[in-house]
């Protein structure tokens, strides 16, 4: 079979790239190993053991970053809408109430109105008032989309602007855990992307969760004539004279003059025999686990009305793989019900994410693995209860996924979530016409992944060496 372009992976970036190419009459196929699309932002279902029926759960998406109001222009989300020719209303975005960064003795609230965070910083760190304004100016004027940028440490830059270390830690906490492939630090361009996405623009959730986004993308991809093959693993990337010529997928050769891979940079290298001699890119170490709890009723607004709580139990934020299975000192707790404050009936949900340790989860026997999952869930439930004191809802269901689960369903080596610490901003690899899209290209979050697919398809598939 011959195509104009092959896209590996039906996650957010792969679907977006596929749409752009097919929209302009390229014959495109997306190859996805899993039996559902979505990649790191997907969903699953579990049969209820208490009542008839099934419950559906999102994985990945706590929040869609880069919130805009209808009609706002020149923002990442509005670019995404235009490039994919989707309408704002189709996403049915429900804005967050507010979120907070919760450290011992001090908390910072932020919402989709940046003024809230600015006021909080002024109130709680009065001596940093002017410095924070300087930081905001620096972020505002930085061109994070410049594809030629190299790595610059965010901490180094922050230290030159902000004097109070606690404020640096608190500002970094959500930005690191929502996107950094690096331990304890992140590239300044990525810091800027995240600062704008979370603090300037904010959070929302599409009604129906991640499935709403995936089905919009799938529908558009079909509309423009793209082909999607699920349960189709790519086992080799074929090259001739260091130029890509196609892939082996599901045992058959598929040919195309351009291949866009969203499977990750080291993962892509591993499947390319022509790169066997090349230095393998670093596999990122940041991986997570998450527990989800379903209660028989919603958590009353008076008890908790913040959408996401970035919790840390000391003054220093340690962002690195957990020493022991998971790090109980820090967590992200998401209360998805707070997105729809007016709907007060139905079940209540809490999700809690911890930094984890891949090697330890992988080395457990089957029985120990199950026991360890229980222990994590107990710890998570205790924290949820602590954050919702006075709530006496009955726990109906709980489930936990670990780094081993992530690896099993996404095939990202070591269950890494934010990919390699080596990002390829222009998407190029040592193999001509083999390009990287998605997390390892360097844009973050769902909106970032979609824009990564769009911009790499534009640059290499539509503008570049005419395929």
């Amino acid at each position: 079979m011959s195509y104009d372009a092959i896209v590996i992976g039906a996650g957010m970036s792969g679907l977006a790239a596929g749409i752009r190419l097919a929209m302009f009459d390229k014959k495109v196929v997306i190859l996805e190993k899993h039996n559902v699309p979505g990649g790191l932002n997907s969903y699953y279902q579990r049969r209820n053991f208490d009542t008839p029926g099934i419950r559906q759960f999102d994985v990945g998406l706590h929040a869609l970053t880069n919130f805009i109001k209808k009609g706002e222009k020149g923002k990442p989300f509005s670019k995404l809408l235009k490039q994919l020719r989707l309408s704002y209303d189709e996403f049915h975005l429900m804005p967050q109430s507010y979120s907070k960064i919760l450290f011992p003795d001090v908390e910072l609230k932020f919402s989709n109105d940046f003024e809230l965070l600015a006021t909080e910083v002024h109130k709680k760190f009065p001596r940093e008032k002017d410095n924070f304004v300087k930081l905001v100016e620096r972020v505002r004027s930085f061109d994070e989309l410049d594809l030629s940028l190299g790595y610059t440490s965010s901490r180094e830059i922050l230290k030159t602007i902000i004097k109070d270390e606690l404020l640096i830690e608190m500002l970094l906490c959500p930005l690191l855990i929502y996107g950094s492939a690096w331990e304890d630090d992140m590239d300044f361009a990525q810091f800027v992307i995240m600062f704008k996405s979370l603090y300037f623009e904010g959070f929302s959730r599409p009604e129906g969760g991640v499935r709403t986004i995936i089905s919009l993308l799938l529908q558009k991809y079909q509309e423009v004539g793209g082909e999607l093959r699920l349960r189709t693993a790519v086992s080799e990337i074929l090259t001739k004279d260091r130029t890509v010529v196609g892939v082996v997928a599901g045992g058959a050769e598929l040919h195309a003059p351009i291949v866009l891979s969203s499977m990750g940079l080291p993962e892509t290298f591993r499947l390319t025999p022509a790169l066997a001699e090349a230095k393998t890119p670093a596999i990122g170490s940041m991986t997570f686990l998450e527990s989800i709890f379903v209660f028989d009723r919603k958590i009353p607004r008076e008890i908790n009305d913040s959408t996401i709580i970035f919790y840390n139990d000391s003054k220093t934020y340690s962002y690195r793989p957990a020493r022991e299975y998971f790090d109980p000192h820090s967590a992200v707790v998401c209360f998805p019900d707070t997105y729809e404050l007016d709907k007060r009936d139905g079940e209540g949900v809490a999700r809690i994410t911890y930094m984890a340790n891949y090697d330890q989860w992988r080395s457990l026997s089957r029985d120990d693995y199950a026991a360890k999952k229980e222990a994590v869930a107990d710890s998570g439930l205790a924290l949820v209860k602590n954050l919702t004191k006075g709530f006496d809802g009955k726990l109906l269901f709980k489930d936990t996924f670990t780094p081993a689960t992530i690896e099993r369903y996404t095939w990202h080596l070591n269950g890494t979530v934010y990919g390699s610490t080596e990002k390829v901003r222009d998407g190029r690899t040592p193999i001509a016409n083999l390009f990287i899209i998605g997390t390892d290209q360097g844009f973050l979050g769902i909106v970032g992944a979609i824009l990564s697919g769009v911009s790499m398809a534009n640059l290499h598939g539509l503008m570049g060496g005419e395929a």
Binding site: M23, K73, G74, S78, K82, R85, M463
Partner: protein, 81 residues
């Protein structure tokens, strides 16, 4: 094809790419970017749509020639001839 036909072709494409923009009162001599919320990604789409709908090719080095409606008409008209 007349200049006003070419002008309409460009306007039609812009209103499909950026449905929220008001294209009824554009100044032909002012840059499109100044008057509308268009970025380089949108200009790529104008070029791609010209190719898809009208088989007109605009090489990358000529993208600046699409800066105003007037320059679009002067540059594209010979290609539609």
């Amino acid at each position: 094809m007349t200049g006003s036909n070419v002008r309409q072709i460009v306007i039609d494409i812009i209103s499909d790419i950026a449905p929220d923009e008001d294209v009824t009162s554009l100044d032909d001599n002012k840059s499109l970017r100044e008057q509308l919320d268009l970025d380089s990604m949108d200009f790529l789409d104008i070029v791609m749509e010209l190719r898809k709908r009208h088989k007109v090719e605009v090489p990358q080095e000529d993208y600046p020639k699409l800066a105003t409606l007037q320059s679009c008409v002067s540059y594209l008209s010979p290609k539609f001839a």
